[in-house]
Symmetry: C2
Subunit: 205 residues, 2 copies
């Protein structure tokens, strides 16, 4: 439940962050006039195309714009529905959920501080609740709607912790990722079931 809010919270913050740059506000207004492609926007703003691409990616990740491909043009247009809310609505957390959310947040932060240092996992926690927290954190290194080979998965995981096999299995067990014939992909927030298995018990893969 409070999970839901927390998740939401991070996502709301992401929207605000995406809007928190003057150049991106100009981009949105140019796109509002009519859908445009990156090259055009870069020309208008006399900006490096790569820079525009970065900005558009941020806006796209936050759901403020969508793009469709037309020939070799990527045409960006505004998602007006997502701009209809007031700041107030974007910010609001029902007070019933507040304390849960706050406590959850404080607990998570404590666990992450304990088990991570400089983005490196010091050890795999013994408690499943804590495993869940650290695995959710690690899962964020993977994008949604993308396939990863096992090699790619390992490459990402080894930066966190040497025992990539345990991490990989944990991500699957906790429903954060799925695998089919050697291909992995991230899963869109499961309904938070604690799995039977623990990362510290059955070690085979």
């Amino acid at each position: 439940m409070s999970e839901q809010v927390d998740k939401n919270l991070a996502e709301r913050a992401k929207v605000f962050r995406a809007l928190g740059h003057p150049m991106r506000l100009i981009l949105l207004n140019l796109i509002r006039e009519k859908p445009r492609h990156g090259q055009e926007l870069a020309a208008i703003l006399s900006l490096n195309p790569a820079t525009v691409s970065h900005h558009l990616a941020a806006l796209s990740n936050a759901g403020m714009v969508v793009s469709t491909k037309d020939q070799y043009y990527q045409i960006f247009s505004l998602v007006k529905e997502n701009l209809a809310k007031t700041l107030d609505e974007m910010i609001y957390i029902p007070s019933a959920q507040m304390m849960d959310s706050v406590k959850e947040d404080a607990y998570k932060k404590k666990v992450l501080r304990t088990f991570f240092h400089n983005n490196i996992l010091l050890a795999i926690p013994a408690q499943r609740k804590k495993q869940q927290i650290i695995l959710e954190e690690i899962a964020n290194a993977f994008e949604f709607n993308r396939k990863y080979s096992e090699k790619e998965v390992n490459h990402i995981l080894v930066d966190f912790y040497e025992d990539v096999a345990s991490l990989r299995r944990g991500l699957i067990d906790f429903g954060l990722m799925e695998r089919s014939q050697g291909v992995y992909w991230r899963i869109k927030k499961p309904s938070d079931p604690l799995p039977e298995s623990s990362l510290l018990t059955n070690k085979e893969d």
Copy 2:
């Protein structure tokens, strides 16, 4: 005119940036329930008071909260009026002003790129229009609603450029700062008049 928009743009972006952090969203919701002081908020969130202070300063600078002093408590409360707008309204720039704004922005960026490197002023431009741009940039290093001694002013300016006397005089001439008996303060955007004097002509101070 397009100045007006640009200025606005930066300010709007600042509001979004202030809202672009999960912790600050929680802070706003806690403050919404009832006005609170920093210590209380820090305790609830098990956060260092200094951290809370920084967050509240960001929210305050963006106009999302105000504070009143009561004994030695600084009580923060929500500015609901500023949360009533939709994202759309916050973002919108009338298309008439768009092109002006864009051109202005591109020009400014070009001038700043030419005359600054790593936040250091390479030279004082000869044209007053460009002087204005670089001085406005430098003026941002000073806060509003604060007094600075000449020593403090110099200390800030010397990081930009050795000839602090010229910069100081420029800030005054262009109406970006005012001085009275050795005390300086920043001025709230004048109506952009180009002064008669140029930084490169009369050099006495």
